[in-house]
Symmetry: C2
Subunit: 663 residues, 2 copies
């Protein structure tokens, strides 16, 4: 057997080890491979399972700070069942790090036993002897304390050595010992990261429109015309105005009206077919007024305090300068020509996809990142990214993380409608917000399941939804009547802290659907539209109202506070969001034809409502007031009047009305 | 702005990256910090979430093998929703490693598009051109294939180059391409480990007894007397015979009968107070016959094919040689004396706990490991470890992993009754089996919840329960009547693949409980008992029967196959275990007083039963046969007859009876 053992004998005990073991740290994304997402001043609640052998008392702290700077420590609270918790609040943008450190709290362990000795009537000699041990633990901390505290510690040490039993049980000595604990034998978790963005990354209302459609008399509009549109957008209360690509549009294989394969003379083409001899992704389409008009547009937006979002569509028209300068950035067919986009047997000859892994890919990546930087230097901080799921995930991770070192306020919205794990992976690699399956959630159960997944699971840590009732690419068939336009707007804007609409199509309730696809017939992507912004049926007043409600009610700025409530009618959905005193209760009728009624069941205590006091519901849409009592109350919704209630709940009845009525 | 950019410009694209991203790998324990546990020939089913950009088709494989040896690859199957899966079956003991590798399957991606081109009626010129690309992908694999396969690949390449469309759609070429795929741009997960133990680590029946109580005429028994007891244990069908500590017992502060603080002259003391001037953990108590008697005992056990388990209790009596040779291995009081065990105000002056972090701890750790090795060299491979939760977790991790390099067949059972996360942590650091909360689960709901947590969650990967109805330390108050002894035995032995009893107290239904604690009055720990093994009320026949049933029915060797079934009576619990054709259905009555009856609802399809065919239930305890039909059938259990059914379910009725009846 001796030979067997030679191997073991060589295996000496570990050089360092700890009696405490950190089993799990939350939050974290994929074992820490990606950061969790927060906004400035949003708490990071860190929890950890920590065990140690025996009955000694572990102590733990979270060490956190902006990446690369000194860490700050915050002591974790013991919650029972080996669970510890602490929170920190990042107060500026950028990457923050955090980790957990745990060790045996020698003094607390000693003090707990000592207290039991005292209470159990241990003899004085034993207590005095144990006090010596307590003093020796305190002495180890002496060197860490300064001035006043050092004096206080020494005072306790003297008292212990003099055998003063009662001094050893004081809370102050435990606090001092904890503060200057030597943390002997500590263990540490891996470092976790949090990407801290500005509040707009979580809470935002987007308005998308085509600048070329807002020119006078059906002419091709410019960015100066688009600048004149900004007050209209601002009046409605949006935060972000988002423009489809503003670059030169390819001429070769240009698409015509309603996606016709060949454009007629004078047709403008799709803005997503980027690039021609005038330039590519760093050029403004001459017909939009060029870069000077863009700068004027930005200036106007700044005056109005409107954020501008550009479209980042990494693909090229066949005449894009890249195709000549860098043919190696595209895939070639065996005959040497550049591959156009295909979904065999369909061909998209107006688009050349970029090959992220071809020859000279490093220069390509740098150039693509430089596109963002080009616009960032002109003041753009927000980008809607076209089809990000068809570009490599490591590209986004690298591109965003390096850009954010210089521009921590960059916001990226992922336009991806693909498989759920890939949607989530885009969130993990750094997209601030993402398009969602909102359009394809039809009934109460589907909404409840989806929102619960988004806000009340781990998904919250890496994926921030933006709910869009329509986009230039998507017109769902149900969006063909006023109550549904209204209810979808209410759902999007109150379920999610971020939402957006494609206008003026939305507010004018455009609903002319393509016969074969869930999109607009005669799509604005291929032609210039002439919208009547003053049409009497416009939903502009409603949109203005809901954006005002969003701004005035902080409950709607959050996502994690969403709570669904029981309603005995499947056509009705009820939910609330609460932020301190601010409590918003929303009930929406999915049925566009008939009045639906039900009792709504509220968990009063959780919502901060008194079980035996009446409370007042102020409908922020029509100004009506209701007086409810107890958890179960009746309501009805006539979709022809308005398909939703957006209630502000007042805990005390009889307050003055403080808003204009709307409907 | 230029200065800002200097930082970024320095940030070049990553040197290596992959278009595939592995989001999650299962199974794993605490992010791979601990191994998952399996037994030899038990499958490791590996699953992974894998995404890549766009619509290219990822491929994935699991690379596995015994640690330090060449890895074998097994291709993963795509199950939809970005989920991939493969299994491997470790065929020998030791640490195995596994990891996931993923990449874009270039040929499958090409072939899928090519097939769509063909079906979509693409022109011949386009197909011929694309075939060139297909050929160029295949060419890259040519160098990896040998002989026959290389010829077949070349054959396809020639066919592609000749424009033979149909050859490109064959399954064989996809299989060849997959087999010799260059795996360009692959990404790999972290390495995960599996600790593979022998089957006894999962499936075992333990019998504990005190050797000193089996001597003749109330004299102190020896290990030769204990050897004479082995046929009795073997007859009952146990796999493992476990002895409390067999070492010299401390004399100083020796405990007397019923835990009296002072032993009377001639009292034997507790075997867990280890060590006196005769020796310590590597010595056999002279009154047990010394090491020679031990070797004879081992020899007898080997003849009977009984596994022997010793007790590993790392603590010392005050007269243990360590206390003189290595006082630094213990904690000192301020006066320099060694600290005895305390739970203030209680004192345990007969026990000195070991200090694992004192001076000279490395020598201590090596010595403690050497204790295991000492007995391993004498043929012991199984240890029940006393109070492992009061020793540092890293000690166990180090001790077990280094010992298992030479003795991969070592089995350790953790005797820990502490907080759940610490119980589980002991499993994670390497205990093969663990004591559980079985004793403190009282009703159906509690059992169902607990077993679901143990077998149908992540816990399965690191914690193997051993269910004990009694131990020398634990006599639950409900164990005071025959039906409950019977039902607890059936529950322990059929719910869990491992179980054990402390005998002869169990089979003789000793139930004289201590007035203040859930343990035996006049505990055998402090005195020599004289058991009447031939008592007519002995449960030996029942135990023999249940161990036979366990051996003959492979369904009971597994844990993960446990399934509970609906019963409309809270006093009855019904569950089944299935292994292929072997299906065992158990119904237990918790009520020791009254007959309970109910309908039992079975999911026929899941159990492999025909919905419209009768099936036969053979009660393996009393031999009775029942003919059931459909999912819902009536039964009743009279606890005074027998409180449980242990049915073997026969899918065809009318078979010959193939077991002896028992009751």
């Amino acid at each position: 057997m001796k030979t067997d053992m030679s191997k073991q004998t060589a295996q000496q005990p570990p050089e360092t080890w700890s009696r405490t073991m950190i089993l799990r740290v939350d939050p974290q994304v994929d074992e820490g491979r990606h950061p969790v997402k927060r906004i400035v001043n949003e708490d990071v609640l860190v929890s950890a399972d920590i065990v140690s052998d025996g009955h000694d008392i572990p102590a733990a702290e979270v060490l956190y700070g902006p990446e690369g700077e000194d860490e700050v420590a915050v002591r974790m609270t013991f919650l029972g069942n080996d669970l510890y918790q602490a929170l920190f609040t990042p107060d500026r943008m950028g990457v923050w790090t955090y980790r957990v450190r745990a060790w045996i709290d020698q003094f607390a362990t000693w003090q707990e036993l000592f207290e039991r000795r005292v209470k159990g009537g241990s003899p004085e000699a034993e207590l005095k002897s144990e006090l010596q041990e307590g003093a020796s633990i305190l002495k180890k901390s002496l060197g860490r304390a300064e001035a006043e505290d050092r004096k206080r510690l020494q005072d306790y040490i003297d008292a212990f050595e003099a055998g003063e039993v009662n001094r050893a049980l004081e809370g102050e000595v435990q606090a001092l010992a904890a503060l200057y604990d030597t943390r002997e034998g500590a263990t540490e978790s891996d470092v976790r990261r949090a990407l801290v963005e500005r509040p707009l990354a979580r809470t935002s209302a987007w308005y998308e429109f085509f600048p070329r459609s807002v020119g006078p008399d059906h002419e091709h509009g410019t960015l100066d015309d688009a600048a004149d549109m900004l007050p209209y957008v601002k009046e409605m209360g949006f935060d972000i105005v988002y423009l489809p690509p503003i670059h030169p549009i390819g001429r070769s294989h240009r698409k015509g009206k309603d996606n016709a394969p060949v454009a007629a003379e004078g047709e403008p083409g799709s803005p997503w077919a980027i690039g021609n001899e005038d330039g590519g992704h760093k050029t403004v389409h001459p017909e939009l007024g060029g870069i000077e008009a863009f700068d004027r547009f930005m200036e106007r937006a700044r005056e109005l305090d409107l954020e501008v979002a550009l479209d980042l569509a990494y693909q090229c028209a066949p005449d894009h300068p890249y195709t000549k300068e860098h043919p190696e950035w595209f895939r070639q067919r065996p005959d040497g020509s550049i591959r156009y986009a295909e979904n065999p047997p369909k061909k998209y000859q107006d688009i050349y996809p970029i090959n992220f892994e071809g020859d000279n890919w490093e220069a390509l990546w740098l150039e693509l990142r430089d596109v963002v930087e080009f616009w960032a230097k002109r003041g753009v901080r927000t980008f809607r990214v076209d089809n990000p799921h068809t570009k490599p995930l490591p590209f986004w991770a690298w591109c965003f993380s390096t850009l954010r070192e210089s521009y921590p306020d960059l916001i990226f919205l992922a336009e991806a409608f693909t498989r759920p794990k890939l949607m989530y992976a885009l969130g993990k690699v750094g997209f601030s917000q993402s398009y969602t399956y909102f359009t394809w959630r039809y009934n109460k159960q589907e909404f409840q399941d989806y929102l619960t997944e988004l806000f009340h699971t781990d998904v919250y840590n890496y994926y921030r939804p933006s709910f869009w009732p329509n986009t230039p690419d998507i017109l769902p068939p149900y969006l063909d009547n006023k109550p549904t336009f209204q209810s979808r707007l209410i759902l999007a804007s109150t379920l999610s802290a971020s939402y957006g609409i494609y206008g003026p199509a939305f507010e004018l309730m455009a609903s002319d659907i393509h016969p074969a696809r869930e999109e607009y017939r005669d799509n604005e992507k291929y032609e210039i539209k002439d919208w009547d912004l003053d049409a009497p049926h416009s939903l502009k007043p409603l949109i203005t109202r809901i954006n005002t409600i969003r701004r005035e009610n902080s409950a709607l700025h959050h996502n994690r506070n969403l709570q669904f409530h029981d309603v005995d009618n499947d056509e009705l959905i009820a939910y609330s969001k609460r932020d301190g005193d601010n409590l918003i209760l929303v009930v929406v009728n999915f049925d566009p034809h008939y009045t639906q009624s039900s009792f709504v069941q509220l968990p009063l205590a959780e919502l901060g409502l008194e079980p035996h006091q009446p409370y007042e519901l102020e409908d922020l849409i029509d100004g009506a007031r209701y007086y409810w009592h107890g958890p179960r109350n009746y309501l009805e919704l006539d979709p022809h009047k308005f398909p939703a209630h957006v209630f502000k709940v007042h805990r005390e009845v009889g307050r003055e009305q403080d808003h204009d009525t709307f409907v």
